[in-house]
Subunit: 263 residues, 2 copies
DNA sequence: AACTCAGTTCCAAATAATGGAACTAAATGG
DNA sequence: CCATTTAGTTCCATTATTTGGAACTGAGTT
């Protein structure tokens, strides 16, 4: 009977509750009807109904004729503007292009948000299949190259906050599924300045990543070069290490230069 | 003294007001500080401050050290999920690819939302410069090919609602800037089944578009082939008319087929 | 026709938002 | 260097919105 559900979003009054509902619907794997949402939201019927009505009126959700709630187009509009005007992305873009030109493989830019990595940009050659599939995508920190790179820059206190909330999940046989293993890995990343993803998140996918952050740690991010395991052997990843480090360094310099003056 | 400001978002209680603030910040051309937002929001200082604090806590906005409010990463995360799971986009994608293969130029998929066209997808070959710049972008209905195509499918009542709220703005010498001209054009679009954009939105950019909508008019959209005027003469656009019509028809059939069964 | 299940509406009580004013911190300038 | 303006933040009695239980509607079953 009790739906074990502890939303981390509280303290922002009604906005937090409404956003929790929005997120539940927007991130759901399958389309959701009223009762489905009711089950996961833990709100009373009347309340939930009003919240959904408001979200639909605002264009954040859409209510299809068959009573299925879907993410609304206003989300796209808002995100598009936010992406287009993101300074960090703009600064990093030329370095990502260069890295792609040098390696020929897909290059990602991701930033740390809470316990997730959100991908801000990517550059790849063959756009044949899906276009910007990855952008905005949220992935776990502990099993992605960018994630481990980002974590390696944090101090103990900040790291502890994140680690304490992680629920490790095994995506592949290589996924690091406990704290100790991850801490060991992070130590190695700190020493070498790069993080590898050895098919830890998706089978057949490998990457090298390097951290990028600003002096104040208000921005913690990373860049990576990713490729299919059959084409990209560990040696090749190793060979790219200097390139990735160099690109990350370039971005950091550019950031410092931009942030310096306004201080 | 009086800030002439009539937000269309009312009736959703506090959510509407908060979203108006969010949108003001997210869609602003330049970064905004507290006072800038205060000026456009028309809210009392204390109220606005709390709203902004909540938005920041929710990750919808970010507050940089220099007191500038920026769009938050949670917007990207939400939008990415919404985009990835959009059925209409998925249905249309193969037709867009085909149209691109046939024409060699950029193909767009846009849907009508209120008085704007929101671009849902695009296919283009040379991704050299910027990746998904267009996706999620909101453009006026009255001066884009997709916009005029979409409008042409509406009945008088629905059209009236939209037209009555349009504030015509001249983007180029060719922009249609009055109701009569637009109505005339729409009549032509209805007869021919395609809409042209003759450098009406951006100088040097032309397109052919065809409408796509479902039987219930709950989805009103369009697809277009766009190219630079120097490379794409009017004749070429004319030559693409059958292709665009065919692609639009294909998408519509597929939609009907998918929607039919569940009815 | 009786019954269920999904979705919607209603309204007194509980709670959160409002907005004016006072307060603090950082720029400006005399 | 202190006075003055401007920008950002906090406070709290009042006001408005949200809450949530219960009753209602209506489509689909048996």
């Amino acid at each position: 009977m009790a739906t074990e559900q502890k939303d981390e979003t509280v303290g922002t009054g009604t906005l937090g509750k409404t956003m929790a509902v929005l997120e539940a619907v927007a991130l759901a794997e399958r389309p959701m009807r009223f009762t489905d949402i009711l089950a996961v939201s833990g709100q009373p019927r009347g309340t939930l109904h009003r919240q959904l009505t408001h979200l639909v009126q605002e264009g954040l959700l859409e209510l299809r004729a068959d009573h299925v709630y879907l993410p609304g187009l206003r989300l796209l509009k808002l995100a598009s503007a936010s992406w287009a005007r993101n300074e960090f992305r703009a600064v990093a873009a030329p370095f990502l292009e260069a890295l792609h030109a040098q390696t020929g493989e897909t290059v990602h830019l991701g930033v740390l948000r809470g316990r997730e990595i959100i991908y801000l940009d990517k550059v790849e050659s063959r756009q044949a299949v899906r276009m910007n599939s990855q952008i905005g995508n949220a992935s776990p920190v502990y099993c992605t190259g960018v994630g481990k790179a980002a974590l390696s820059t944090l101090d103990d206190a900040a790291l502890e906050v994140i680690l304490s909330g992680i629920e490790f999940r095994r995506f592949t046989p290589q996924t690091l599924v406990d704290r100790a293993a991850l801490l060991g890995e992070l130590e190695a990343v700190r020493r070498s300045g790069v993080a590898f993803d050895r098919e830890e998140h998706e089978p057949g996918i490998r990457c090298v990543a390097a951290p990028v952050c600003d002096a104040a740690r208000s921005l913690v991010a990373g860049i990576s070069v990713t490729g299919p395991a059959y084409r990209v052997e560990q040696e090749k990843l190793e060979a790219w290490v200097p390139l990735v480090r160099q690109a990350a360094g370039g971005i950091k310099n550019e950031l410092d230069a931009r942030l310096g003056p306004q201080r």
